[in-house]
Amino acid sequence: MVWVNAIVQGILLGGLYALFACGLSLMFGVMRVVNLAHGDFAVLATYLALAIITGLDVPVLWSALVVAPLFGMVGYLVQRFIIQRSLDVSPVTTLLVTFGLSIVIQNGLLEGLSANSQSLPSGSLASASFQVNSQLSIGYESVIVFAVAVVVLVCLQLFLSRARLGREVRAAADDQEAATIVGVNVRHVYGVTAAIAFATVALAGVAFGMYSSFNPAAGPQRLIFAFEAVVIGGVGSLWGTLAGGIILGLAQVLGSQVDTSFGVLAGHLVFLIVLALRPNGLIPARLS
């Protein structure tokens, strides 16, 4: 029963990773940009949520409704003014610039706030759980996060396949120049893509804060988890990202069943093995 419990926890954790990774996957699929500050923006969102919760005395879920659209705007601006400029210099520059952003955000948080770990006060949700039987219980929180992840992925999928703007996003991902000559404002479309990615990052940041404690330096590890989920699942495929997140979550939870300190390492090993076997991920697919 310990193992069943671990598998259930692993799958639910995978939902969190997928929620967190889909923005990375989207930006990589459309703009070929890996935002190395992805994790730090999530941590920033978590702190913002904390400020909103404690400042306005509202529940966790309300804070997400403020943080997500706000981060959407931040994402649009970061794309238009920082990432786009880096892309214009060279693809390598985007890596260097986003890495620089990561360090600046991390140390900015460290200076502005304390280095101590904190957690989001999630109130009654934190302890509530489904009691399946005497040994197996599933926390509401992790189920909600998993559900949010699936809903976000479905919405993203619908947006990309149905909406006019989603069509432009796919076109820009396919062939930037061809999209330009049919009248697509590619830079704006990139901005919108980043806005969506950042909004999901904000949601994931809040979810992370509900799951576990956080500190200003938590970003890089989150980025690594997100990237691992994307690569394991296959770049540019949203459902692949969910699969990748679940595989990573399972590897970590099952690994820590073997030995508490082995969990994260097990995830890394799965990632490195996938890279060694298939450098382009398990499900190479187009964005759709």
Partner: protein, 208 residues
């Protein structure tokens, strides 16, 4: 616009479409300067290009490819129904991908996609490239009908005979310069040949 490989025909077309910025000179449309207008806004101004190699979007269906053409459409007669009227076969395959289409069919989709924007000036780059002669013939037979709707067409072509047959005015480009201009019927074939291969000593126009 005719000329040998590397004469600068495609570069000229891409510059007009806004993909390259000219080093010198201006681009004017109806007297207004559009040199610094971004490429996507030139579509709204009525300049629409069918690029060399078709450049359809592989992750979009045929109909989505066409619909994308109307992103910055001017008001006009061209819409999905009209394109399907022009190419009836497309309607049956509207939901499918474009990667399985033949080269000629893909070229037709690319033209349809451009028409969806209701262009005033349609830029056609290497229309015949890589296509069977019969297919090329069909595409060229369609051009007079397009011209009849009031749009202008700037055609870049290596196939000189084909291009001269359909055009009202021809320019021959060599190493980025216009060597020869005129109505096709006024141009002697030796003259064209000389300009095409750079045998002529006198340059007619300035650089572009």
């Amino acid at each position: 616009m005719i000329g040998a490989n590397g004469a600068g025909k495609s570069t000229l077309l891409r510059t007009i479409a806004g993909l390259h910025r000219p080093v010198a000179g201006t681009i004017q449309l109806d007297g207004s300067d559009i040199t610094h207008l971004p490429a996507h806004r030139r579509v709204a101004a009525g300049i629409v290009m069918v690029p060399e190699g078709r450049r359809l979007f592989p992750s979009l269906s045929l109909e989505e490819n066409l619909k994308l053409g109307s992103t910055r459409s001017r008001s006009g007669a061209w819409d999905l129904d009209r394109v399907y009227q022009l190419f009836p076969w497309m309607a049956e395959r509207r939901g499918g991908p474009t990667v399985h289409l033949s080269g000629g069919e893909q070229q037709a989709v690319a033209i349809g996609r451009a028409l969806m924007a209701n262009p005033r000036i349609l830029l056609l780059d290497e229309l015949s490239l890589g296509l069977a002669p019969a297919v090329v013939q069909r595409l060229y037979d369609m051009l007079p009908a397009l011209l009849a709707t009031g749009m202008s067409i700037l055609l870049v072509e290596q196939d000189v005979t084909q291009a001269l047959r359909v055009s009202d005015w021809a320019h021959c480009l060599l190493e980025g310069r216009i060597m020869l201009s005129g109505r096709p019927r006024d141009l002697a074939s030796t003259e064209v040949e000389a300009a095409y291969f750079g045998l002529s000593k006198r340059a007619v126009g300035g650089g572009g």
